[in-house]
C-alpha cells in the first residue's frame, strides 16, 4: 500500500491501516530506540509511545516529508526525551547520594577488562562501542547510529535531522574520529 493511501486511511481511523504502519515500522523503531536507551523493556515502551503518538497526530501530518521520515523523527525525539529525563534523574540521584550512601546513580559502563580471543570478545566490543557512542555529542550520535546501525542513506538522515546533506557527512565524519579517539584511550588503559 502506498504512503498516500495509507495516510488517508489512517486519518479515517481505519484499524487495518494502523496495523500496517505498526507492522512496517516496529522493527526499526524498536532497534533504533534500543541503540539509544540500551534497555529492551524501555525500547519496547518507547516503541509503543511512538505508535500512540502517530495514531494521535496523524491528522496534523501534512505530508511535507515521507511518512517513514516523520515516524523515525518521532522515534528519535522520544528516545532522546527519555535519555534527557534519565540524565535529570541521574543529576537528582547524585544530589541525593550526597545525603544517602545507598543511592548511587547508574550509567552505561564499558567492561573493566578486555579479553581478546575469547568467546565473549564480540559482546565486549559491542559494549565498549556503546559506551563510546554514549559519550558523543547528541547530533553526532544520532547521525552515526542511523547511518551505521540502521543503514540509512545520508539523504534520509538529513531529512530526519532537518539538516543539509553536507552537515550529515560532517557529523558522521566527526563521530568516527571522536569514536576512534575514545576507543584509543580505552584500549590504551585496558590492553
Amino acid at each position: 500500500m502506498e504512503d498516500i493511501e495509507l495516510i488517508a486511511r489512517l486519518k479515517n481511523g481505519e484499524d487495518e491501516a494502523f496495523r500496517i504502519v505498526v507492522d512496517r515500522y516496529q522493527r526499526f523503531i524498536l532497534n533504533s530506540s534500543f541503540r539509544f536507551v540500551q534497555n529492551k523493556e524501555t525500547a519496547e515502551d518507547i516503541t509503543q509511545d511512538v505508535f500512540i503518538e502517530v495514531f494521535r497526530s496523524i491528522n496534523f501530518f501534512r505530508a511535507e516529508a515521507k511518512l517513514s521520515t516523520w515516524i523515525y523523527r518521532i522515534a528519535i525525539t522520544k528516545s532522546l526525551d527519555y535519555m534527557k529525563s534519565q540524565k535529570r534523574k541521574k543529576r537528582f540521584a547524585i544530589f541525593k547520594s550526597l545525603f544517602n550512601e545507598d543511592d548511587k546513580p547508574e550509567e552505561v559502563v564499558a567492561p573493566e577488562t578486555f579479553n581478546p580471543g575469547k568467546q565473549v570478545e564480540n559482546d565486549d566490543r559491542i559494549k565498549i562501542l556503546s559506551w563510546a557512542l554514549a559519550k558523543l555529542p547528541e547530533n553526532q550520535r544520532i547521525a552515526f547510529t542511523l547511518s551505521k546501525y540502521d543503514e540509512m542513506s545520508y539523504q534520509e538522515i538529513a531529512e530526519i535531522l532537518g539538516v543539509s546533506l553536507s552537515s550529515v557527512e560532517s557529523l558522521i565524519h566527526r563521530a568516527k574520529e571522536n569514536l576512534k579517539k575514545k576507543l584509543y584511550v580505552y584500549y590504551k588503559k585496558h590492553l
Binding site: 522493527r27 524498536l30 525500547a43 500512540i52 566490543r125 559491542i126 568516527k176 584500549y187
Partner: protein
C-alpha cells in the same frame, strides 16, 4: 611500537563490530498492547473531561463570588472613609493655608 599497533587494531575491530550487532525481535502482541493503551488513554481523557466539565464552572463561580464580595466590601469601606475624611481634610488644609492657631483649628472642628 608493537603495543601502539595492537591498540589501533583493536580500535578498528571494535568500530567494525557494528556489523555483528544483532537486531532485537519485535513483540507479536505489540499492536494489541498499543490499541489497549490508546483505549485506556481515551477513557482517562473522557473521565478527566467529565470532572473538568463539572469542576471548571464551580471554580469559576467561587472566584466570581469572592471577587464580588471583595469589591462590595472595598467600595463600602472606601465611601464611608471618604465621607468621614472630607471634613477633617478641608479643615486641615484651611488651617495650614491661613496659618490658624490651634484654638482656631479646634473651633472649626467643633462646629
Amino acid at each position: 611500537m608493537e603495543r601502539e599497533k595492537m591498540i589501533l587494531e583493536e580500535v578498528e575491530k571494535t568500530l567494525n563490530s557494528i556489523d555483528n550487532v544483532t537486531n532485537l525481535e519485535t513483540n507479536p502482541f505489540l499492536f494489541t498492547r498499543i490499541k489497549a493503551r490508546i483505549v485506556d488513554n481515551s477513557v482517562e481523557q473522557i473521565k478527566e473531561g467529565k470532572t473538568g466539565f463539572v469542576l471548571k464552572p464551580v471554580a469559576l463561580i467561587i472566584i466570581l463570588v469572592i471577587n464580588i464580595v471583595t469589591a462590595v466590601f472595598f467600595f463600602k469601606n472606601n465611601s464611608t472613609n471618604q465621607a468621614v475624611n472630607t471634613n477633617t481634610t478641608l479643615v486641615e488644609s484651611l488651617t495650614e493655608d491661613y496659618q490658624y492657631s490651634q484654638t482656631e483649628y479646634e473651633n472649626f472642628t467643633l462646629e
